[in-house]
């Protein structure tokens, strides 16, 4: 066999084997029963701004999981409650404590109030983790209840002292409650761990709890109090591709930037998407339907 022919077969073999491995891995992920299945609406599935309308060079369509976490402040203030569910940028949840961080092998021996502590903790590189996402569960319900209480309190104050400031605050609280009830994501990160089996044993409901891969790292919050919490940096994969056969389900949905969401533009279209997570915890869109509600 000539040299050229030998190199040709070697190269073609490498390409074929690489494709076979990639495709068989994807097939194995989707084989059998999914690890979990969530019924999400466009409240939890966000179209990134860089999509067909914004970028004509890419006709692919993908969505991101819009997930939230409870604020890291130990005593939530009015501002924190208003922020939760509005932009879902919180990534340092209050429950991600030192004990959970230590399980990942992070170095936590330096006191947070010591000199150089901020650099010591912020230098540590992120580590892979399993993240538990809860859909319309106790966490969402508790925050909804807090919003309702906030709105009721604001209404009472406005009734007792009907000045313009009180009336304005009551109106804002009502709008935010309405937004949280009808527009905000119901998907919350509620736990992290390094052992998939252990997490699934603690959260067995596979229709409410999805376990996905992500990365975490320590962060110093409130250095004056010496608090170190964990940050959930990102989930993997960051986006879910929409196959051609499901694109019709996303018609009419606008890219949901924080501005769009805050202004209530592009109201939820009452469509429900079945997102399955496979053996490798990689998601795919398994189906969709119009939500009769």
């Amino acid at each position: 066999m000539t040299r050229i022919r030998r190199f040709t077969w070697i190269g073609l073999g490498v390409i074929a084997v690489a494709n076979a491995i990639a495709l068989s891995g994807a097939a194995w992920n989707r084989s059998g029963e999914p690890e979990s299945t969530l019924a999400l609406t466009d409240r939890e599935l966000r179209i990134p701004d860089s999509n067909p309308d914004a970028n004509r060079e890419n006709t692919g369509l993908s969505v991101r999981l819009e997930w939230c976490a409870q604020p890291s402040r130990l005593r939530p203030t009015d501002d924190d409650l208003r922020e939760v569910g509005v932009n879902c940028y919180e990534r340092v949840p209050r429950w991600f404590d030192r004990e959970r961080l230590a399980a990942f092998g992070f170095h936590l021996d330096l006191a947070p109030t010591a000199t150089g502590a901020a650099e010591y903790y912020n230098r540590q590189l992120p580590r892979p983790a399993f993240v538990v996402l809860e859909l319309a569960g106790p966490t969402y319900q508790s925050i909804l209840d807090e919003h309702r209480a906030l709105s009721a309190t604001a209404d009472s104050v406005a009734a007792a002292h009907p000045d313009s400031l009180s009336r304005r605050r009551a109106k804002t609280a009502r709008e935010r409650l309405a937004w949280f009830e009808g527009q905000a994501s119901r998907l919350f990160a509620v736990d992290v761990g390094s052992d998939l089996g252990d997490l699934r044993a603690r959260y067995p409901d596979r229709a409410m709890y999805a376990i996905v891969r992500g990365t975490v790292r320590p962060r110093i919050m409130f250095p004056e109090n010496g608090i170190v919490l964990g940050e959930i940096r990102e989930l993997e994969p960051a986006q879910i591709q929409v196959p051609k056969e499901f694109r019709v389900a996303f018609e009419g949905l606008l890219p949901r930037s924080s501005y769009v969401r805050q202004k209530g533009i592009g109201r939820a279209q009452n469509r429900e998407f079945t997102i399955a997570f496979g053996k490798r915890l990689e998601p795919w869109i398994a189906g969709w339907r119009k939500n009769p509600d």
Binding site: G11, N19, Q241, K244
Partner: protein, 360 residues
């Protein structure tokens, strides 16, 4: 008559023949050497036959005019390869939304396989190498697109294993078609894979490997010494590429850490780390230059001297930019350059003397 192993070797031989012919003419003019007409005719005929054969087999540059045109062809080939590769990416992104998943998979795999096969076919017919270079770059781009897009289509978690596959194809193209650009692409993928693995073995997420530049030292050392263990008789230009890539990776890493000590694994304060790497850069630059002179490795001398000067200038800037008047600062820089020139000239003289067997 031995056949050169590659186009590079054939071009080197042709260049040496031209130099010999010019020097022979000068010697004859100066009366230092006179060949008989029969000897001269035999030598000329032999050289003419060699150059004709090399031209037919390897499409070498037969004269200075051809060389200059070849330089232009190399630039055109490189730019064309980059443009076509970008076009491949954008073409797929433009149309993939309207394709079903099976069609996407078929096009991606088919494009990678087809362009690779086409590259090898072109290589069997292209003695110049420029069209092969262009086709190989497109084939590599297609394979990168192939695995990247499969990952996106099936929502696969990012993995460093793709780097290994890309490296393998790049090396096949490099050694199969004698392409230094593909060798560099393969080395880049191997470097990235090695660093990613080192990061993940330490418990860190592999994507963050670039936040610890010291990960690059190990693959740089391996690449520098790799030519000692691989036979490159057929590819005489490749060892220089290995060394050049290794040195660039090592010195760029040192340069980064000399200004960003926070990115180091070392458990010391930032100033100590940065100072240590700055001194390491000076010493390393000098050592590499010395090694390059001893071994005749021009790329080592070039990289060593370049980075030595870069580090020296950056230290001078750090010490005196704020405290000195600007005219004095640039005067110091200029005088430093003069000192470097004097030192290098002395070094060159001593190398020339030692090559001639004269004690320096």
């Amino acid at each position: 008559m031995t056949t050169p192993a590659s186009r590079t070797a054939a071009q080197e031989r042709a260049d040496e023949i031209h130099v010999f012919q010019r020097e022979l003419a000068r010697l004859e003019t100066e009366g230092a050497l006179l060949l008989s007409p029969e000897q001269r005719a035999a030598v000329d005929a032999h050289h003419a036959a060699l150059i004709a054969r090399f031209g037919a087999d390897f499409d070498i540059d037969r004269d200075m005019g051809s060389k200059q045109l070849s330089a232009g062809m190399r630039v055109a080939s490189l730019l064309g390869a980059m443009a076509l590769s970008a076009s491949v990416f954008f073409v797929f992104y433009q149309f993939w939304g309207s394709l079903t998943t099976p069609a996407q998979v078929a096009i991606l795999a088919g494009a990678a396989l087809g362009t690779f096969a086409l590259t090898m076919w072109i290589h069997s017919r292209d003695s110049s190498g420029y069209f092969t270079n262009l086709a190989a770059t497109v084939a590599f781009a297609c394979f990168v697109l192939d695995l990247s897009m499969l990952g996106q289509i099936f929502n696969v978690r990012p993995t460093d294993a793709a780097l290994l596959a890309w490296a393998a194809v790049a090396f096949v193209l490099a050694y199969g078609c004698d392409l230094r650009v593909m060798l560099m692409a393969g080395l880049a993928c191997v470097f990235a894979f090695t660093c990613a693995r080192l990061a993940s073995w330490s418990g860190v997420h592999w994507v963050s490997f670039n936040e610890r530049p010291e990960n690059f030292f190990l693959p740089a050392a391996a690449a520098f010494f790799a030519p000692r263990f691989i036979d490159h008789t057929r590819r005489p230009a490749f060892p220089a590429v290995y060394r050049l890539f290794a040195l660039l990776a090592a010195f760029l890493t040192t340069l980064i850490l000399a200004h960003w000590g926070r990115g180091s694994y070392l458990p010391f304060d930032r100033e100590t780390i940065e100072s240590a790497y700055q001194w390491a850069a000076f010493v390393g630059g000098a050592l590499v230059s010395w090694l390059g002179i001893r071994r005749g490795w021009r790329e080592c001398v070039d990289v060593g001297v370049t980075f030595f000067v870069i580090f020296l200038y950056s230290k001078i800037f750090e010490w005196w930019w704020e405290s000195m008047p600007k005219y004095l600062f640039f005067l110091v820089l200029g005088l430093t350059a003069v000192v470097i020139l004097l030192v290098l000239r002395r070094l060159r003289r001593s190398v020339a003397l030692s090559s001639a067997g004269v004690p320096s």
